[in-house]
């Protein structure tokens, strides 16, 4: 069996025909990880331009335009304050439950959006994928960058809301740590989106499953209530504390409400798992790089 298959065989067959195969490179195959990173670095301007313009045009079809960048989280915060703080009066015995809730909800929403919007990401960017050859990871990276730019406003609104909603939390020096915590979450979101982008591309049905997963994540991250109150089982509690989103939300609360620096363990868990998920997600996404231009299935 002497079938021409490998690159070297093709080149040999070309030479046998008296043709010069030098200068030809295989196309439609995925580049090595190093090459891929290099290509991505080369497209950094593209990613930046793309995300910036997406962020600034995302509300362009709405009458209020970019006012929504502030308005949306503000309405959210007000809603949760009214429902849980005034009407239901949950969280009695807690010092500042409305602020606790607002921080939890807004941070959770940012990660949950990354998970769910990742599933349709490659399909909705089909026109770009088919028109130009570029490393496809640019698309999730740009989407997360765009979401992060939006989240800057959300975070500002969040800080503002907890200052004006009673009992008023006042700015302290520890509030500076909002920035690194914010960045850790952005890294986590990127890793998650790279994973869900590929899953959603291969199996669009997963959009429904991932919606449930993100709901599950909500209860596992202590978004609405302090999780320590409901879990008295040691092992269950230690599993929950390994959840990076739980740690991120908890750190943000420590910084904003308690005015303290989160302990080292929280930093380590959140950074290591966010970076770990990013590495895994990136490799997972890259492994199917060549297939994202496919027309069907």
């Amino acid at each position: 069996m002497n079938e021409v298959k490998s690159t070297s065989e093709v080149k040999r067959a070309l030479e046998a025909k008296g043709l010069d195969p030098s200068g030809l490179a295989r196309i439609g195959v995925r580049p090595s990880l190093g090459e891929y990173l290099q290509q991505l670095w080369q497209r950094r301007h593209f990613i930046w331009y793309d995300s910036r313009h997406r962020a600034s045009t995302q509300n362009s079809r709405m009458h209020l335009g970019n006012v929504w960048l502030f308005l949306r989280p503000l309405i959210d915060a007000a809603f949760y304050f009214v429902i849980f703080g005034l009407v239901l009066k949950i969280g009695k015995g807690m010092e500042n439950f409305p602020a606790f809730l607002i921080i939890g909800i807004l941070l959770y929403r940012s990660t949950a959006t990354s998970i769910t919007s990742g599933t349709g990401l490659l399909r909705s960017n089909k026109a770009m994928i088919k028109a130009f050859t570029f490393p496809r990871a640019s698309i999730p990276i740009s989407a997360v960058l765009q979401a992060t730019m939006t989240a800057v406003f959300t975070t500002m609104v969040m800080c503002f809301a907890i200052m004006v909603i009673p009992p008023f939390a006042l700015p302290q020096i520890s509030w500076v740590l909002v920035i690194p915590i914010f960045l850790i979450q952005a890294v986590l979101n990127l890793g998650l989106m790279l994973i869900t982008a590929r899953i959603g591309f291969h199996v669009p049905d997963m959009a429904n499953v991932l919606a449930v997963v993100s709901r599950f994540l909500m209860y596992g991250s202590g978004v609405m209530f302090p999780i320590e109150r409901f879990l008295d089982n040691e092992t269950a509690l230690s599993i929950v504390t390994l959840n990076p989103l739980y740690q991120i939300i908890d750190m943000m609360r420590t910084v904003l409400l308690d005015g303290q620096v989160p302990d080292l363990r929280a930093w380590i868990i959140s950074i290591v798992s966010a970076v770990g998920i990013l590495v895994v997600g990136f490799i997972y996404f890259w492994r199917a790089e060549e297939s994202y231009g496919r027309e069907l299935g």
Binding site: E3, A13, R294
Partner: protein, 363 residues
């Protein structure tokens, strides 16, 4: 070829041939395709409901495999202006997407000397951005530096001939306008290999003249241009070489005049429901193209191509099976993908009468 001059559809186009691009005699290879195949697995739904309770409950959907491209070999050199013609659904666009590296082939391999730039018909790039912003975005996506992109944007806007519309959001563009914009992006990036998928057929006369001269520039610059169209007229006015595809295979590959004349007489008869005659022409063309196909096939000694199809049944078994039957036993045809059981079933087809079964619809 003498009989073809009788076709009324043919006579009118001869005056264009003097403007044809002439490819250089000797030049390095730019695109090599080796036994490229593409199969899609898609759900198929029966139109008629099944009878009985079980038939009503059970889904009418089943997965079938559609072979869009069934083994294509190509050798293309610098300075060639290659046109790909064929009826709708013949695999032209799929082949082009694979050659451009946008879609990986199911099997086989493609080698190019540079990254091809594909210009396809698709929706707006980023519908909320203006034309000019899309141009810049496209340049950056192709790996340009922001300075270079900024510098080329006015030129690309000029080439697209969109006028003031270049500052409007792309969602307001017509399909012709958006393909002009994409053409401008692609050409200004100066690709060594440009592939145009029916995109320019939506442009008007001014633009098609402008785009032709841009493509000629590219060719003079030792580039290679591919152009897909189902209408032979669009192809034979510009291309130096034509590939005729039918059902995912290359029927003929060669000189523009020769191939497009054959293709025209084929479609002419197809359009008038003279399918027997059309099939006779197809058969003649396939025999005619055999030498060229063999020339582009890459073979090592004692080479043959066994392909084991998986368990998914084919929607339309290879219609060439009967036509190619004689040749296939005599010599190895590039990409003899054979669905199981078809070989035996089609063997009795006599060589002299054209086979009209399994021809499928023509669109």
């Amino acid at each position: 070829m003498a009989e073809n001059s009788a076709d009324p559809a043919l006579a009118e186009d001869d005056d264009h041939h003097d403007t044809l691009w002439v490819a250089p005699e000797e030049s390095p290879l730019t695109v090599v395709a080796h036994r490229v195949r593409m199969r899609y697995k898609v759900p198929r739904t029966d139109r008629a409901p099944r009878s009985g309770l079980l038939g009503r409950l059970a889904p009418r959907r089943s997965m079938v495999s559609v072979s869009a491209v069934r083994g294509v070999d190509l050798l293309v050199r610098e300075g060639e202006f290659v046109g790909i013609i064929g009826r709708n659904g013949s695999g032209k666009s799929t082949l082009l997407r694979m050659l451009a590296g946008v879609e990986p082939p199911t099997s086989g391999s493609i080698y190019t000397s540079a990254r091809p730039q594909l210009l396809g018909v698709s929706a707006a790039l980023m519908s909320d951005l203006t034309g000019a912003e899309n141009i810049k975005l496209g340049f950056l996506a192709l790996g340009m530096t922001p300075e270079k992109a900024e510098e080329l944007v006015p030129q690309a806007a000029e080439l697209s001939a969109l006028g003031e519309a270049v500052d409007l959001p792309m969602r307001t563009y017509s399909s012709g306008m958006s393909s002009r914009l994409k053409f401008a992006i692609s050409v200004m990036a100066q690709p060594r290999i440009l592939m145009v998928d029916e995109a320019l057929s939506t442009g008007d006369a001014t633009f098609s003249k402008r785009s032709k001269s841009k493509m000629d520039e590219l060719l003079e610059d030792a580039g290679t241009v591919f152009m897909v169209n189902h209408a032979p007229r669009a192809i034979e006015n510009v291309c130096s070489r034509v590939i005729w595809m039918e059902r995912g295979r290359v029927v003929m590959d060669g000189d523009t005049k020769e191939v497009s004349a054959m293709y025209r007489s084929f479609t002419y008869r197809m359009a008038r429901d003279r399918e027997d005659e059309a099939m006779a022409i197809l058969r003649e063309a396939i025999e005619h193209g055999e030498a060229q196909r063999a020339a582009s096939a890459l073979t090592l000694p004692e080479d043959h191509a066994p392909v084991a199809p998986d368990n998914v049944p084919e929607l339309e078994p290879d219609p060439f099976t009967s036509i190619f039957e004689l040749q296939m036993r005599a010599q190895s045809f590039p990409g003899t993908l054979q669905p199981r059981g078809r070989r035996a079933a089609t063997r009795p087809a006599p060589a002299t009468t054209p086979t009209t079964d399994k021809r499928g619809r023509h669109s």
